[in-house]
Amino acid sequence: MEALPGAELTCRARNYVFGWGRGMQERGVISYYAARALPEAQAFEDWLAGIAGLIEADAHSGRLPRTHRPLLQVLGDAASPVIGTPTAE
């Protein structure tokens, strides 16, 4: 994101305003998609794939600017289970 004056050295993954009307809310882009993909994720590789799928769909439909697309990866054992119990799809 564009740095605040005097804060050029900081980093902040991008924010974006999601939703419509009264439901509009500014969120961190990574957080927004990670939270949406988390419910059904069994393993970290599933979680990442879910995030990528949601981002791709929103970018394709124009709901997310291409300049805001994060590039994510799993460092470590991608087959490890994600904490908690997946909800039914």
């Binding site: 605040l4 957080s31 904490i83």
Partner: protein
């Protein structure tokens, strides 16, 4: 390896003045993790105007809780800002990244919490797995 009965999710939201996104981020993760069966006892939230002392105190409290675990799972999620030292670094592999809790702290790394300090403060037992999702 199946998930352990010992589990804990740490949700840290560290907005700068006037920022609302981090609150929504933490709330969303809290809701989703609750839907995944995590109880309120398994979800620890630190959110608001933070500083180094508050953050390290929170991590110390977590460490005291998990220190006796023989195995388990910890998820650490953060939504906030970061920076790195040295400020003139040119090699991403040699920088020391950190959480920064306000724009006034940017020129004073002694007020940052470096990630190596986070891991040191948690001092998780060897068989406790840590998953980290930083949005910063």
């Amino acid at each position: 390896m199946p998930e352990s009965a010992n589990r804990l999710a740490l949700l840290i939201g560290a907005p700068w003045r006037g920022e609302a996104a981090m609150h929504g981020d933490v709330q969303a993760f809290y809701d989703v993790l609750t839907a995944r069966g995590m109880s309120s006892d398994d979800l620890l939230v630190l959110e608001g105007r933070l500083d180094r002392e508050l953050a390290l105190g929170f991590l110390a409290a977590v460490q005291s809780r998990v220190s006796a675990w023989d195995r388990g799972d910890v998820l650490l999620y953060t939504s906030g800002h970061g920076a790195y030292a040295p400020l003139d670094a040119v090699d991403a592999n040699t920088v020391d990244p950190a959480l920064v809790f306000g724009p006034d702290d940017l020129d004073d790394p002694s007020r940052w919490v470096f990630w190596h300090e986070v891991f040191g403060a948690l001092a998780l037992p060897p068989e406790v797995r840590l998953a980290l999702l930083p949005d910063c």
